[in-house]
């Protein structure tokens, strides 16, 4: 076992000593899906999580994960302390995006436990680099309640990033364990259905599950942890960073502003059959495309079920409005390269697909970026006219 039990007793001692009376004890909560498992299955997940990650008071730095815990885990402790001060109100003790303030917010704070983060500089499907997370904490997310923590010293930002990665790994590990047990038939509803509808014996099902937990679960858990660890390593690998293969195209050599030709090309791509931007973002960029009006299926449901509300939903199950591109507010950063990356790799955890390397060339992406950056400065939006002579050209930040 490569478990290094926790390094942190100090906080616990301090908290006990201070004796904060009525304040509720900070504790990691189980994911909804975990609580829907049969007793023995849930117990197995709880035990794994406790052994490998500990409690908020007694953190475990499991070296399976490629995190910078510091020599004796002090990074994790610092990160935890800062997280508890700055982040937990919205993101919750467990990083489930369900802190006490969360219910009042729209959009909902990120639930880290899916292991997905929307705004990254990494290729399609990959997790964020440390830099991406640090940038988000530093800059905040415009158009949301995520504020900027730019005043924190770099070392503190880094510690928070490390702790968020740790929380995300913990949550994703939990989800993978649950998926394994659900696959083995450990879901309580599933068991009831098999007993009541298919006439199977409850004892036999539970016996089978107990055998699996005793024999194979350890190996399955190790595989799950390996998958999570690999994905965090891959995210920070240099070959997975998106760098445009050409400098920003379509700029006037003299003024440095996008040329009319480039804006035309961008507009044409925007409405084209090959990019289909307007199906979601609407012809005028208002985020009101036809796909926002229909009912969508809930992924991972067999048989298929639909969401109660129409409109696109993200992987967290929240209604997801395609960005209104006329507002000039860009959640993942407003630099041209940020928009380039959004188009190149898509937005993780949403329907926004990756266009880079498949449907669009890097040059085409730049024209599209030029056009999108111009949209907020069009006088009449959603005119949906070709921008023949845009009155204000983009500065692009």
């Amino acid at each position: 076992m490569r478990i290094r039990p926790a390094l942190v007793t100090l906080a616990a001692v301090v908290l006990t000593a201070v004796g904060c009376g009525q304040a509720p004890e900070a504790a990691f909560v189980l994911h909804q899906k975990t609580s829907e498992l049969s007793d023995a299955s849930r117990g197995a997940v709880e035990k794994e999580l406790l052994n490998k990650f500990g409690t908020p008071h007694q953190l475990v730095a499991w070296q399976k994960f490629p995190f910078d815990y510091g020599a004796s885990g002090e990074n994790l402790v610092t990160g935890r302390n800062l997280y508890m001060r700055h982040c937990l109100h919205c993101h919750g003790v467990s990083g489930d995006g369900n802190g006490p303030t969360a219910r009042f917010l729209n959009p909902q704070p990120r639930d880290y436990r899916l292991g997905k983060f929307k705004f990254t500089s990494t290729k399609s499907g990959l997790k964020p680099r440390r830099d991406d997370l640090r940038e988000i904490v530093k800059q905040g997310i415009p158009g949301t309640t995520m504020p900027s923590f730019v005043l924190l010293p770099e070392s503190e930002l880094n510690a928070i990033v490390e702790y968020v990665r740790w929380l995300s790994a913990r949550g994703e590990y939990e989800q993978k364990l649950v998926a394994t047990l659900v696959g083995e038939g450990g879901g309580e509803k599933d068991i009831s259905r098999r007993v009541n509808k298919d006439g199977e014996s409850r004892e036999a099902i539970l016996k089978g599950l107990a055998d699996f937990i005793a024999k194979d679960f350890v190996e399955e858990a190790a595989i799950a942890a390996g998958d999570v660890a690999d994905s965090w390593v891959a995210a920070d690998a240099d070959e997975n960073l998106i760098l445009p293969s050409i400098a920003r195209a379509g700029l006037d050599a003299k003024t440095g502003l996008p040329t009319d030709e480039s804006l035309h090309k961008g507009r044409e791509l925007y409405v084209s059959k090959k990019a289909k931007c307007m199906d979601c973002h609407g012809p005028g960029g208002l985020g009101d495309g036809v796909l926002t009006e229909q009912f969508w299926k809930i992924p991972g449901t067999t048989p298929e079920q639909e969401y109660a509300e129409p409109g696109l939903h993200d992987d967290w199950g929240n209604v997801q409005k395609p960005r209104n591109l006329t507002k000039g507010q860009y959640r993942g950063g407003r630099r041209p390269v940020d928009l380039f990356r959004r188009v190149y790799a898509g937005i993780k955890g949403t329907q926004m697909p990756a266009f880079g390397g498949t449907a669009l060339t890097d040059e085409e992406i730049w024209h599209l970026v030029n056009y999108v950056l111009m949209l907020p400065h069009q006088k009449t939006s959603p005119a949906a006219k070709h921008p023949e002579k845009p009155s204000v050209a983009s500065t692009g930040g």
């Binding site: 289909k276 299926k297 992924p299 991972g300 048989p303 898509g346 329907q351 498949t358």
Partner: protein, 293 residues
């Protein structure tokens, strides 16, 4: 388009007759799943119609012999009860359909339950081993698998890929698609596919999956398909008649997963004993009540 289809169909028929009626199954996991899947499961609807004709032409089907010292597992998955009447997801010529010029060129059938009229066999059922027989490693097929799109429909509807075997995502449609997966173990894939993508965008699964991965297109939300990723060759998908064949299994006792997209597990642990140089044949009936919504 019509000419095209009939060409394809007759090509299929030839293949069918020439290999004696036993089509998809063996091929689904053989060294070249790509062509095999791509060709044979081109259109389950067409296949269903054609299969009737084939039945009359081909009198009996000789199961293929297992390699020396191994055994084959064959069988048929049938529906016990009346088949559901499923409406097409997009009707031919429906101008209100999204991107009708491309997507309503032909019916897009509802493939959530495809039943053959004569055999009652259910198509596109996955029969496979969760894990490779203990201690064995199997080479990755060199040929990529092909996953195509035509008339706003994925072809084939179900595909078995091996770990690290590239799946080439193609499109014959003159409109963009996006191919979107959300697997449990592998990295998610959500790539825009440009119109008439004939070379194919590489989709790679580098880890096996326990259950088939659902594939969707968010631009045309009726489009669905399933990819099963295995690190061994012992998996098959039922053909249009509901038949499957898994070849060259080392002798021993196995528990197969049988999975169908509308109901999930047909059987979690279907016990089969394989004897050397023998074909083990099983009939698996799924009660129609299971499909009731």
């Amino acid at each position: 388009m019509n000419t095209n289809e009939s060409n394809e169909s007759s090509g299929w028929l030839l293949t069918a007759v020439s290999c004696g009626g036993l089509l998809v199954i063996g091929a689904a996991w053989l060294v070249t799943p790509a062509g095999a899947n791509g060709a044979a499961v081109t259109s389950a609807r067409q296949v269903t119609i054609l299969a009737d004709q084939v039945t009359s032409a081909v009198v009996s089907t000789e199961p293929s012999k297992p390699a020396k010292g191994t055994g084959n597992f064959t069988g048929i998955v049938t529906l016990g009860g009346a088949a559901l009447d499923l409406k097409p997801k997009v009707k031919k010529g429906d101008l209100t359909a999204k991107d009708a010029a491309v997507c309503a060129m032909d019916d897009v059938p509802d493939e959530s339950l495809v039943v053959d009229k004569s055999t009652k066999g259910i198509a596109n059922v996955f029969v496979y081993l969760d894990k490779a027989p203990a201690g064995k490693k199997y080479d990755t097929p060199k040929e990529p698998a092909v996953f195509d799109q035509k008339g706003c429909r994925f072809l084939p509807h179900g595909l078995i890929a091996r770990v690290n075997q590239p799946v080439l995502v193609k499109s014959q449609d003159n409109i963009a698609h996006n191919t979107h997966t959300n697997p449990i173990r592998n990295t998610g894939f959500n790539q825009a596919i440009k119109p008439v993508e004939s070379i194919g965008i590489k989709l790679l699964y580098d880890k096996p999956e326990r259950l088939p991965v659902k594939v969707v297109c968010d631009l045309h939300t009726w489009m669905t398909a399933y990819h099963l990723v295995l690190d061994h060759p012992f998996g098959a998908m039922t053909n249009a008649k509901g038949e499957f064949e898994i070849k060259d299994l080392p002798p021993g006792k196995y528990e197969f997963i049988i999975w169908q997209e509308s109901i999930g597990y047909v059987d979690r642990k279907f016990a089969v004993e394989i004897t050397a140089d023998k074909v083990t044949d099983k009939k698996i009936a799924v009660p129609a009540a299971k499909f009731a919504k």
